[in-house]
């Protein structure tokens, strides 16, 4: 999740069941790719009526999808630190992304 000033608000990584630890050298690459995709998100969000952009950008084997939403968190642009939220995201991620 990214705030108005291109600042990451929430990050989470889902790994296939087999892998327990992601490769460290990819962690920063994920950020690079996500950040770079913002340019295309900015461009595409005005072209589509949908809140969801399925594949907005890709880099090698990484595909970037985007979803626009209002920030429901009490402080705009502040990092989201909530274990409940994290758990929920974890659950949904497992269900939809890995399942």
């Amino acid at each position: 999740m990214v705030g108005h000033h291109d600042n990451p608000v929430f990050e989470m990584e889902f790994l296939p069941a087999g892998k327990s630890e992601s490769k460290d050298d990819h962690r920063h690459l994920n950020q690079f790719i996500a950040h770079a995709a913002l340019d295309l998100v900015d461009e595409n969000m005005w072209l589509s009526n949908s809140m969801y952009l399925k594949t907005v950008d890709k880099f090698n084997e990484w595909f970037v999808s985007a979803f626009f939403a209002m920030n429901p968190f009490y402080e705009i642009n502040a990092p989201v630190r909530s274990t409940a939220f994290e758990r929920k995201v974890q659950f949904l991620g497992k269900k939809h992304l890995l399942g």
């Binding site: 000033h5 990451p8 950020q31 950040h35 340019d39």
Partner: protein, 1481 residues
């Protein structure tokens, strides 16, 4: 160097230019060598034509050729066949040119703002800063100024130019095949014509012998152009002219040329500044040599011969067509062979050095200069020569060939194209299978032999293209493309497609849009079918440039990104960077894409060994990522920047980058952080390896500077033997705002008491410990030879432990008098201060004569730990001290052990660096003026800038036998010791306390001579006693004491230390009596000791010492007392006349809880103290003299109190108190002496209100009801008559068993009896705070309080005196008359009107019955006035009619104060029934 800022058209056009070969005779080579150039190089700056050329196309239309550039190269023969990839040497060359081309440091920056982002680019090419450039570029280069490329990446342009020029000639296209050959012979030659012949044969041999596949020639019949070179300085001009004439005869005037040059003599025109147009064509100049060397040494293995070669130019290695010139070989070139491949440049350089040393010309011309023998005229000659050659030789030659090819093609067109192909099909494909056999590389389609007819159209297209006839070229390429495609000759087709696209783009007036799909197909074919990355790259470069010129940045970026591949890091890096620039040049700049591709480019640059470029890319990208929370990305960038900076010998930048990684909120793993830390330490170490004077700042651990606390003075001693030291202030205590305010109040009280009750205006509370909450606006005052302790809060942000060592404070010191203006730290005169900073590396103790600096040897910090370090300074001189920072060694703690080991062995192999960190504390934000509120301003915070003042006295206070738990009211004797531990005497010792009733030092007048030594006084009573066994009926012993003797009634006490001052080293021990607080629970009792120096005028006026004790008070006894008027008539009392008799009842209850181990309490004495009353005697009926109370037992004591002698009471100038002691035990405690008396006075409520409390309350309520004064007077008067003001002191002993030992504790409880009839208790009433009070919005009117009967009934006391039994013979006399005396005593001090009514007026049924046979006879109503305290007896007669028991207490007495007319008389309260028994005789 690609200095030319070209238009796209120019760029594309110049990418394909006619190629001209050069063959030089040795003599001619020698002549040109004088200029430090070979012949081809000599011509190179002039190869762009300034004038238009003309050509006639096959249709006889004149075609203008503008800005034609030709390319002249020495012939390099090689048997190599063209390959699809660049040769290693070519790659190396490209790598070098890119390496050499770096942005200039400190160039003007370009700022781009895109959305949220501001970006700066500092990479302008060098051109703008070379002063001669702008002057010469018109004359030399004819650069088109019409349109500049936006790219500011000269390294890319250089790369591109070199790449295009190093393209291997290929068979499927003719563009870079040689069209002509210059044969150059010197006029000094013996027989020049022979030389020409030789060269001509040589050319023919090279082209036609079949020995060499390279160079390739365009047409079999290559144009030969004969050039006679004449050296003006040495040759005979006449002869040259003759030879030239002969040549013209032989080769025709358009086939030869006489070039005169070298007219400059060294001596004459020494100072003429001739520009050097060659330098930019020779890729490098001196400017870059050093850097290249640096980079090369960094990049590769050690090189022996690199040393000393730095300063020299090395032109030969830089030629685009390779190192070796076939005609110029040098013996030293063997070096090249012997050195490793990548070091070839260096070896060549070495060669140049040696040669330069030998060659006088070179030396004379300066190491780096070219064309030293040429004048400007010579330059013109060369330019004219090129002009002539092109327009007379080359262009007609091309024109002729185009014509020929066209004729061929036209003749062949007779056969229809379709037929041509059909024939091929019908007759089995003609040569197709043959070719596929001959060429094994059939994977990418058909290959034609060089002179195949299919290639003729391509050849014609290429010729047209070279002479800018783009329309014809396009048509030809288009046709060729179709042919090649139908033949499935993919390479050829791709080539045709590429050039068709380019031609279409270059056509003037753009009849058709640029067919970018042609280019895309070409690129794809080159790359995927032909596997020829070089050609694919060329197409991509061209296409990207064209797309960019049309604003199609997105397409250009995609194209460039597609061209990145694993086979060439350098190409990928450059193209990614260009793609990044495309993103930022878009109409809506894609900054984030830019940044990402810069990162990718940087990554590839670094893989390609281009560290500087990599660093630049990362740094530019960093502008986008920084401070936005992409911490992993940021860490990656910083780490790369750090590494690259370090290897590029920019350790300062490296340190900054690593610092960022370590201090940012890191999300890295512990292992990663550890690696970062080690890297940082390593880099840092190499930075401070330099001889820097001041230590650099360390980023770790973080200092929480506002949490810094400063403590002035010695650290307190907790105890010394049995002595317990004053708690004072310490860093271990938390700051508490309320406590601080409390101490401040106490200090104010003391200061005021020392200053005639006024707190001075400049009063500042003493602050020993400063923190963020204290007032730090002023410089704190510290005392010389007393330590200053600074507590610094460190936080380790990392997940790895840190080991700090040799940690100490950094300070600056300005001695008193050296700089008078120094008081304000803002104005600092640099020269005068002394600091301990420089000496740190050399010797720690060097400045210890001024300020001793303590060092903490080991300070270990766990992962993410916050830890405080206390660092001490001991100033030895007076002046201004500024604590500026901390200095320490930083190392990574070995993760295995957490505790620091003392030997320090383990730190030896770890990286340890030394550095400092500043302590800068921002003061509180100002909020006073409007400006303060508008801006964010901060006040000063001076807690680290103490002023060191001259010696002050220093006192320590110790307590002996000081209890921690007491019973309520318990009296204990303790000792207190005051020591002057300083070198100056102290005086003015005082103490203030929050609980002044808790302790007393005793009063001088009454202090008993108890032994001073605490040990000998053990088990003695704290009281002063006299042996005296109580006798039955004994009366109280009395003592008259003035309250003045116990004068210290305020909360501030002077401490009686005997003499005036406590001398240095002296100490004094004083007894201290304590009394347990009356309320149970834990009490915090604070003492503030105050003292001064005997010398006046110090900066510090006084000093204070704090002490806090906690006393746990447990319940002892509860004493309740009440007083009532004695009903005994005055004449019955033994020794007191008048109305003095008052009974005092005292209820004592043991309310102690069993836990405290108290077995029983004994009431040993009851004393009274009052100004007006005294206890007279014990009238307990039980007569148990020793009142023992076990747990929960209750006892009642009864006493009679009398008024004091009147003269004592009336002498009211001083308050004199009568102490009366009634001992119940065997000894009498003298209550008027210390400590009993002291505590009596100390425990009295401090304001003398108690007697006024009730009255004032009443009066205030009266005031509301009736504002008249008389009412108040009356009330007071009425009150007064009930006032008692008798203070009871109950002294007890408690028998306590503790550790199987019996202890006797003693204590006293006070009860103040204010009013008769009102009960008072020793326990302070529990406040019922819990009770909820209803919120009222309207204040209720107080109920009207009438001066009730209760009050008025107290005015007069009545007594009836009569015989208890009276026997009367009713038989004889039916009326029985009994005399009864009614005694009236006026209790008040006023005149009272009394009205007595004896008339029977009973309402109750019961009394009616009784009174039927009883009546008063005689006068039944009396009216009289009683004087104050007057006693009056009235004799009444009661008449009884029959025998029986009667209550004769029926007289109703009304009283009112005299003169109170308005007030109705009120019935006096009747006493208990007065019974009389009448017997019948």
């Amino acid at each position: 160097m690609a200095q030319c800022v070209q238009s796209v058209q120019e760029f594309v056009q110049d990418s394909f230019v006619p190629m001209v070969a050069v063959l030089c005779s040795e003599e001619a080579e020698r002549v040109t060598r004088k200029n430090n150039l070979n012949f081809a190089e000599l011509l190179r700056p002039f190869c762009k034509l300034t004038s238009e050329g003309h050509i006639r196309d096959p249709n006889n239309q004149v075609q203008v050729v503008k800005n034609l550039r030709i390319c002249i190269n020495n012939v390099v023969t090689s048997p190599n066949t063209a390959s699809a990839a660049l040769s290693p040497s070519q790659r190396r060359l490209l790598n070098e040119v890119v390496l050499a081309c770096q942005p200039q440091e400190g160039a003007v920056t370009n700022a781009i703002t895109a959305g949220d982002y501001d970006l700066n680019f500092s990479d302008h090419s060098l051109k703008a800063s070379l002063p001669w450039y702008s002057v010469w570029r018109e004359t030399l280069l004819e650069v088109s100024t019409s349109e500049h490329c936006t790219a500011t990446t000269p390294w890319f342009e250089t790369y591109r130019e070199n790449f295009l020029q190093s393209m291997p000639a290929s068979d499927h296209e003719f563009l870079n095949h040689y069209l002509a050959c210059l044969l150059v012979v010197s006029s000094t030659e013996a027989v020049p014509v022979e030389q020409f012949l030789k060269l001509s044969q040589e050319q023919h041999r090279i082209q036609h012998s079949g020995e060499y596949t390279n160079p390739k020639w365009f047409i079999p019949n290559t144009l030969k152009y004969y050039v006679l070179l004449h050296d003006m300085s040495e040759g005979d001009e006449q002869r040259a002219e003759t030879v030239y004439e002969d040549m013209k005869q032989r080769y025709g005037p358009q086939g030869c040329y006489l070039l005169k040059m070298n007219s400059r003599t060294l001596s004459t025109e020494e100072d003429e500044q001739i520009p050097d147009p060659w330098s930019q064509y020779l890729h490098r100049n001196n400017l870059h040599n050093q850097e290249i060397l640096d980079d090369l040494t960094v990049n590769s293995a050690p090189v022996e011969n690199s040393v000393g070669a730095a300063e020299v130019d090395y032109p030969h290695s830089t030629e685009k067509d390779g190192v070796s010139n076939s005609l110029e070989s040098h013996p030293l070139q063997l070096d090249t062979v012997s050195s490793p491949g990548s070091l070839h440049t260096l070896s060549a350089l070495n060669t140049a050095v040696k040669k330069g040393a030998r060659d006088p010309e070179c030396v004379a011309g300066g190491a780096g200069s070219h064309g030293a023998c040429l004048t400007l005229n010579d330059h013109d000659h060369i330019r004219q020569f090129i002009q002539e050659f092109t327009s007379r030789g080359l262009l007609p030659h091309i024109e002729k060939n185009i014509r020929q090819l066209n004729d061929q093609l036209v003749s062949r067109k007779g056969l229809s194209r379709s037929l041509f192909t059909a024939t091929k099909k019908w007759f089995g494909g003609g040569k197709a299978p043959e070719k596929s056999i001959s060429e094994p590389k059939s994977t990418f389609g058909l290959l034609y032999p060089p002179e195949a007819p299919e290639l003729q159209i391509r050849k014609m297209a290429d010729l047209c293209f070279l002479v800018q006839h783009y329309e014809l070229a396009y048509n030809c390429y288009h046709t060729a493309k179709k042919d090649f495609l139908s033949d499935q000759a993919m390479l050829y087709a791709a080539g045709a497609l590429e050039m068709a696209a380019v031609s279409a783009f270059l056509q003037a007036g753009a009849p058709r849009p640029y067919p970018s799909h042609y280019m895309d197909t070409a690129i794809q074919t080159y790359r995927d079918v032909c596997k020829n990355m070089v050609l694919a790259e060329r197409s991509a470069l061209l296409s990207a440039e064209i797309l960019k010129s049309q604003g199609k940045y997105s397409e250009a970026a995609t194209l460039l990104i597609k061209m990145t591949s694993e086979d060439s890091d350098l190409r990928s890096a450059l193209l990614l960077e260009q793609a990044a620039h495309c993103f930022i040049n878009m109409r809506n700049p894609m900054v984030r894409k830019f940044a990402f591709h810069m990162i990718l480019a940087g990554h590839r640059f670094s893989k390609a060994g281009q560290r500087k470029h990599a660093l630049r890319c990362y740094s530019q990208a960093m502008q986008v990522y920084k401070e936005r929370g992409w911490s992993l990305a940021e860490d990656h960038i910083n780490f790369t920047i750090g590494r690259q900076s370090f290897t590029l010998r920019q350790p300062d930048n490296a340190v900054i980058a690593f610092k960022q990684i370590l201090t940012n909120d890191s999300r890295q793993t512990a292992t990663q952080q550890g690696a970062f830390l080690r890297e940082y330490l390593y880099v840092y170490k190499s930075v401070i390896g330099g001889n820097e004077l001041s230590l650099p700042q360390l980023p770790l651990p973080c200092i929480h500077s506002s949490a810094t606390r400063v403590y002035f003075g010695h650290e307190r001693r907790l105890a010394e033997g049995e002595k317990q030291a004053a708690t004072h202030v310490s860093l271990d205590q938390e700051y508490d705002q309320d406590l601080a305010a409390m101490w401040c109040r106490l200090e104010e009280q003391i200061v005021a008491s020392d200053n005639r009750g006024i707190v001075p205006a400049n009063f500042q509370p003493s602050q020993c410990c400063l923190n963020s909450q204290t007032d730090n606006l002023r410089h704190p005052l510290a005392v010389v030879e007393e330590p200053v302790i600074v507590e610094v809060t460190f936080r380790n942000p990392l997940k790895v432990p840190l080991a700090l060592s040799n940690l100490s404070l950094l300070w600056r010191f300005t001695a008193d008098g050296s700089a008078p203006s120094q008081v304000e730290t803002t104005e600092e005169s640099e020269a005068d201060f002394i600091t301990n900073e420089e000496t740190l590396d050399i010797e720690m103790t060097q400045k210890d004569d001024i300020v001793t600096t303590e060092t903490i040897l080991d300070f270990h910090m766990g992962p993410e730990e916050t830890k405080m370090a206390r660092l001490r300074l001991l100033p030895h001189r007076t002046g201004q001290l500024n604590i500026v920072g901390v200095v320490y060694n930083l190392a990574e703690a070995s993760p295995g052990e957490i505790a620091p080991s003392t030997d320090g062995q383990h730190t030896m192999d770890l990286m340890v660096v030394r550095g400092k960190q500043d302590l800068k504390i921002q003061g509180p934000r100002l909020n006073l003026t409007k400006e303060d509120k508008m801006l964010v301003r901060h006040g000063p915070d001076r807690r680290l800038d103490p002023i060191i003042t001259a010696s002050m006295p220093l006192m320590e206070v110790f307590f002996l036998q000081f209890p921690t738990a007491l019973l309520c009211g318990e009296i204990r004797k303790a000792y207190v010791e005051f020591c002057n531990v300083s070198s100056v005497p102290l005086c003015g010792l005082r103490v203030a306390s929050t609980h002044p009733d808790f302790f007393t030092f005793g009063s001088q007048a009454t202090t008993p001579l108890t032994p001073l030594s605490p040990t000998s006084a053990e088990n003695c009573s704290a009281y002063k006693t006299l042996a005296m066994t109580p006798q039955p009926g004994s009366v109280a012993s009395e003592m008259l004491v003035s309250a003045e003797d116990f004068s210290q009634l305020s909360s501030v006490m002077e401490i009686p230390i005997g003499g005036k001052a406590l001398q240095p080293g002296e100490s004094i021990q004083l007894p201290l009596w304590l009394r347990g607080p009356d309320q149970e629970g834990v009490h915090e009792i604070n003492f503030l000791f105050y003292y001064q120096s005997t010398e006046k005028g110090n900066k510090i006026s006084h000093r204070v010492l704090r002490h806090t004790v906690f006393i746990c008070a447990s319940r002892s006894l509860s004493v309740q007392a009440s007083a009532s008027r004695s009903s005994v008539p005055p004449h019955h009392s033994v020794d007191a006349k008048g109305s003095g008799g008052t009974l005092v009842f005292i209820d004592v209850e043991n309310i102690n809880t069993s836990e405290s181990g108290v077995r029983e309490f004994h009431i040993v004495q009851v004393s009274s103290s009052s100004q007006h009353w005294r206890l007279h005697k014990c009238i307990n009926p039980a007569r148990d003299t020793d009142c023992k109370l076990t747990s929960r037992k209750r006892a009642k004591l009864c006493f009679r109190a009398t008024r004091c002698k009147p003269q004592q009471a009336t002498s009211d100038t001083i308050e004199r108190y009568t102490f009366a002691d009634l001992n119940l035990g065997n000894e009498r405690i003298i209550s008027s002496s210390t400590p009993c008396g002291d505590f009596f006075f100390r425990c009295r409520p401090r304001n003398p209100e108690p007697k006024l409390v009730t009255s004032s309350r009443t009066s205030s309520s009266c005031k509301i009801q009736s504002p008249e004064d008389r009412a108040t007077d009356l009330t007071n008067m009425v009150k007064k008559c009930n006032e008692l003001d008798l203070n009871i002191i109950v002294i007890w002993k408690a028998f306590v068993v503790e550790d199987n030992k019996q202890l006797i504790l003693e204590g006293q409880l006070h009860v103040a009896l204010q009013t008769i009839g009102k009960e008072a208790t020793s326990l302070t009433p529990k406040e019922e705070a819990q009770e909820m009070v209803l919120l009222k919005f309207k204040s209720e009117l107080p109920l009207p309080v009438a001066l009730g009967s209760v009050e008025l009934s107290q005015l007069i006391k009545t007594n009836l005196h009569y015989p208890e039994t009276y026997t009367h013979p009713f038989v004889q006399d039916s009326l029985c008359l009994v005399p009864v005396t009614l005694t009236l005593s006026n209790c008040s001090m006023a005149l009272v009107d009394v009205f007595i009514d004896l008339r029977h007026k009973s309402n109750s049924q019961e009394s009616l019955e009784v009174h039927n046979s009883f009546t008063w006879v005689g006068q039944t109503q009396y009216k009289m006035q009683l004087k104050p305290q007057e006693v009056l007896c009235l004799t009444l007669r009661a008449c009884f009619l029959q025998a029986g028991v009667y209550n004769i207490n029926t007289p109703r007495v009304f009283a009112k104060p005299a003169k109170q007319v308005a007030l109705s008389e009120t019935s006096q309260q009747t006493a208990s029934p007065a019974l009389i028994i009448i017997n019948n005789a």
